[in-house]
Structures are given as C-alpha cells and as structure tokens.
C-alpha cells in the first residue's frame, strides 16, 4: 500500500518535472527539473528492488545535469529567462507527435498481456551483475571502455579551443621544410578545400589567411 502511494507520488513527480523542463523560462531551472525527473525515476527503480541501478541513476544524472546546466549558461542568450521568450518551432506538430507517441505506446501496453511477478527484495542483484560483467558480457564491458575512450577523444578534438598547435580559431600551420620557410603540406584553394571544422586536428593543412572568417569565434 505504502509502496503504491510512493510509486504514484514518484511517477507524478517524474512526469511533472519532465513537463516543467520545457515550460520554465530559466534554463537552470529546466536543467534541474530534468534532474529531479531522473531522481524520481531512480526512486521508482529502488521501489522495484533495483538497488544499484536506482541509486546509480541519481549519481550519474546529477553529474550530467550539472554539466548540462553549464552548457545551458554558455549557449543560451538568456539563461535565466529574465525576459521570457519562446524558442520553439513546429509547435503543434510536436505536441501532436508527443501525444501520439504516448497514446500509441499506452494502447500497446494495455492490449499486451504483461507478466506480473515482481522481483522479491533482498536479492543480491549487484553481485549477479558483477559476475555477468566479468563473465559472459566481458566483451560488452571492454567495448564500452573503448567507446568511452572514443567519446573522450572525440569530445576533446571537437571542443578544445587550444590544441597542441595553438588556438583552434587560428588554425594551425605545419612547420616549413626549410628553417623559416613556407609551411609544408598542401595549401587550400580559394573557397574550396576548406573542409575541416574548428578542431585543430583537421585543420593542419590550412593557410593562416584562410582563417579570416573563422576568427570571430569565441576564442578572442
């Protein structure tokens, strides 16, 4: 009984705060409303005796939402929503799509016979997970490691403002073949061959002059 009440309360909290994310003016409030939604879902998972996943959700999402909040402040014109504005497009279509997704899924859920044998509390699910990680799913585990490494490298390449070769906004110039000579490597033609984006890794072949219209980045 208490469990049911808790479940409905947490569900209401998750859905309400999820809804608030797109309704509040302040971007920080939106971010942390999303975090509250995650925390409520973690609580529901705890109710289902997912001791680990439930708590871990809170743990991971608190960090991720903190980072998201930072980026909100970095990219939003008006992070606190002091003069409210609607930053939306295809509004009616989106509402329709959201409702359609919800109704469709709900109909599918209600018409499907679902099993109902809840997991008894007190099982050592964490230990099972550990043996799974080191046993059958070891490959998944190590693949996840490589994926995370790729993510880290990708994030650094794409977003780092200063690389080994100087500021990304400036582009980078390979050393000359002779001391003090012109930069080695292919030089870009006008208007073409300007393919790299701001990551320094891709911009090795750019001439400095080509960077004129790149320079209004945030770097200065």
């Amino acid at each position: 009984m208490t469990k049911d009440i808790l479940f409905y309360a947490l569900s209401a909290l998750a859905i309400w705060s999820g809804w608030r994310v797109f309704r509040v003016d302040s971007m920080i409030r939106a971010t942390f409303a999303l975090m509250v939604s995650f925390i409520a879902v973690g609580g529901i998972a705890l109710l289902m005796s997912a001791d680990y996943i439930g708590v871990a959700t809170v743990f991971m999402m608190a960090v991720e939402m903190m980072v998201m909040g930072l980026f909100m402040v970095m990219f939003m014109m008006n992070p606190a929503g002091l003069n409210p504005m609607q930053m939306v497009h295809q509004y009616r279509f989106s509402i329709g799509a959201g409702i359609a997704a919800f109704v469709g899924l709900t109909v599918a859920i209600l018409t499907t016979p679902l099993p109902d044998n809840p997991l008894p509390p007190g099982g050592d699910t964490l230990r099972d997970l550990g043996f799974e990680l080191l046993g059958n799913s070891m490959l998944i585990f190590e693949t996840a490691g490589v994926t995370l490494l790729a993510t880290m490298v990708g994030a650094v390449v794409l977003s780092s403002a200063s690389g080994r070769f100087g500021s990304a906004g400036q582009g980078s110039v390979p050393p000359g073949l002779t001391a003090g000579g012109p930069p080695a490597g292919r030089t870009a033609e006008d208007g073409k061959g300007h393919g790299g984006h701001a990551g320094h890794g891709m911009s090795m072949q750019k001439k400095p002059a080509m960077q004129a219209h790149d320079d209004h980045g945030k770097g200065h």
Partner: protein
C-alpha cells in the same frame, strides 16, 4: 521502500529547518529590502548587467571528458563486489579498462584542456 521514506523524511525535515529559521528570525518583520540594499556586492561598483548572463566557462572541455570518464564508475561498482571472488582475472580486466580510459585523460592533458584558458 524504507530508504525512500527515510530520504523523503530527511528532505521534509530540512525544509522545515530552513523555513523555520526564516520564521524564527525577526528579519521578515523589517519589511522588504530597499533598492540600494538590493545591489549585489561589487566592491563599490554598480553592475551593468545581470549576473545571469551567457558565461564562457573556460573549463568546458574538461567537463565533457569528465562525463565520459565518470561512466566507468558504473562498471566499477559491481566489479568491486566480486573482485575477491574472481581474483587476478578481475584485476587484469579492470586494469585493462582503466588503462584504456587513462589514454583519454592523457590525450586531454596533451591537448591542454586542464588549463584555464
């Protein structure tokens, strides 16, 4: 279930604490603060804008690296529980996993993302 009830109880208690402090202080009888009192502290200067502005947090690349690296914790917690049972195999696997991720940190350091630019 008891956990969630306890946590809810704790949060309720602290809300009561904060609201109670405000109620217990006489401050709220002093009326609302005046406009000069509402100026933010700025060493005597007047702010030209709200503090809630776009802000370039110079360490943002570090936070992205952190989010990706921190994910490894999710795998380490279950690993810690069965470590003694699995022995050397567990040590080797986690060593490999951490070594892979450390490459990412080294790369980030090489690119200078821990500098406050």
């Amino acid at each position: 279930m008891e956990t969630i009830l306890t946590l809810a109880g704790i949060f309720a208690l602290t809300l009561v604490f904060v609201v109670g402090l405000r109620a217990a202080g006489w401050s709220d009888f002093a009326g609302p603060s005046t406009a000069p009192q509402q100026r933010p502290v700025l060493g005597g200067g007047d702010p030209q804008t709200h503090a809630w502005q776009r802000f370039h947090a110079r360490y943002y690349t570090m936070t992205l690296l952190f989010v990706a690296f921190e994910m490894e914790m999710m795998f380490m917690y279950p690993w810690a529980v069965i470590y003694v049972a699995e022995g050397g195999k567990a040590l080797a696997e986690m060593g490999m996993f951490l070594a892979i991720l450390s490459v990412g940190i080294l790369y980030g350091w090489r690119e200078g993302i821990f500098k406050w630019e």
